[in-house]
């Protein structure tokens, strides 16, 4: 059974139809990269999976939990971590406090346990020495790695990435992608909206191309990048691949 099931999902912003009959299954451990021009609905798509964006029609089931029932939203958010383009770290808290806050108040872990796990995660994203600093004292790449550690601290089964490297200086993109690659290798289920085609080729099990609120084409990265079937995919790739 798929860990994420989307059935005929439709969403409107006012009169703007931003998601049109989306059907998508993601298997446990699968890494799915979503590409497409801006305004194609790809960010909105992944934001519906943890109910940051409500949908008006259709059904989304995450790990067996139907999120169209508002009562289930908290349960789903515990299972789904999210990393944002603009990091969204809590500026008034240290790195360690950023990571331990939700485990302590949502999972009700004691401080010692939360801090121990936070330090392990910081080790994993290679910034354990920054634990006592405030976000504003870190580079963009470091901040985004803290954001990844913060999401992982809730021990989610699924991780969503909404253009995680788009706000970074070029020289910092690599360190964030490395952390994401390591996560993918560890077997995490991931949905990634990105323009990093190298990352998609290397890590993705599947690439989805979206345009104007629809899934136009999907397949293995080699197939989609080297031999796109749909002319809109071809046009998009021709624009970004050089």
């Amino acid at each position: 059974m798929a860990i994420i099931e989307m059935r005929d999902v439709n969403k409107w912003f006012g009169s703007l139809h931003v998601l049109k009959d989306i059907n998508l299954d993601v298997q446990k451990g699968e890494v799915v990269v979503v590409i497409g021009p801006s305004g194609s609905g790809k960010s909105t798509l992944i934001r519906t999976i943890n109910a940051l964006e409500p949908i008006q029609k259709g059904k989304i089931v995450v790990d067996g939990i139907d999120i169209s029932n508002p009562r289930n939203i908290d349960a789903v958010r515990k299972e789904v971590g999210m990393v944002f383009q603009s990091f969204n770290l809590f500026p008034h808290m240290t790195v360690l406090e950023n990571i331990t806050l939700a485990p302590r108040i949502v999972r009700k872990w004691p401080r010692e346990k939360a801090e121990q796990i936070a330090m392990e995660l910081l080790e994993r994203v290679d910034i354990a020495d920054q634990a006592e600093k405030y976000p504003a004292q870190l580079s963009g790449g470091q901040q985004q790695r803290v954001a990844i550690a913060r999401a992982l601290a809730m021990q989610p089964k699924i991780m969503l990435f909404d253009e995680p490297t788009s706000a970074l200086d070029p020289e910092m993109v690599g360190e964030v992608l490395d952390a994401m690659k390591e996560l993918a290798r560890s077997g995490m289920t991931m949905l990634v909206v990105t323009h990093e085609m190298g990352f998609a080729r290397e890590v993705a099990d599947r690439v989805i191309f979206m345009d104007m609120g629809e899934i136009i084409e999907e397949g293995e990265p080699d197939q989609v990048f080297s031999n796109p079937q749909h002319e809109r995919t071809q046009a998009f790739l021709a624009r970004i691949l050089h």
Binding site: R77, M82, F84, H92, M154
Partner: protein, 275 residues
Amino acid sequence: MRVLKALAWSVVALAALAVGYVVFFNGIEAALRWYFTVTNFTASKVPNFAHNLRLGAEVTIKLTVISSITGLILGLFAGIARLSKNPLFRWPAQFYVWVIRGTPLLVQILFAYNALPFLLEPLWKYLQPLGVPPIQDVLTPYWAAFIALSVNVGAYNAEVIRAGIQAIAKGQWEAAMSLGMRPFQVMRYVIVPQAIKIVVPPLVNNVIALLKDSSLASVITLLELVHQGQRMISITFRPVEVYIAVAAIYLILTTVLTFFTDWLEREMAKRGAAT
């Protein structure tokens, strides 16, 4: 250990505050005595005049402090309620802010003192048999002024707090919600601590305004600073010296408040590097 330490510190701070309060007002009284002596007021009456003005200043500061605290709590609830999606919370808060900011404080004070007892009379029919003192004894000038000033500053605080919360980027909400926090937890741990830094300077402005506006309570015979001054003028017929003294005391009180809040702002800036 942590709790004990915090407790010990609060005791020390409270004691220091109490000592500081007494020293400060004794200083004011001594200064007034010197001032009225060099301005040739009847020597035998000087200690009495100085003492009365000091008492007036104490009423003013006490009224300001308790109204500020109550107004802060009112403002916090009303400010958050104004942002609620639920009209049952939002509309009453909007109505409250609209009425209070749209009417003069003087009218609100007169209303609290003269009209509120009539409105509360039906309620007192049930309360008085339970041992509650009669309404006239409860709504003294002091407590009527307290109600009017708290409710008044609460409405202005609500607007400051609403703006402060709205100034926190939407991404903070989304990040916290995506971690599974409930709206109340997001407010408590993420939004309010950041908003505080934004709202403290304008809230302090409101307190300073409140300190000065509390002088309006002289119209309901509250013996605060201005009313004590007026009584003294009616005895001495020397408005120049007395009003200068009254104004000087207000100036000292607002200056002390400004120093305190400048310090508070610096302390808050030290903690938590940046926003």
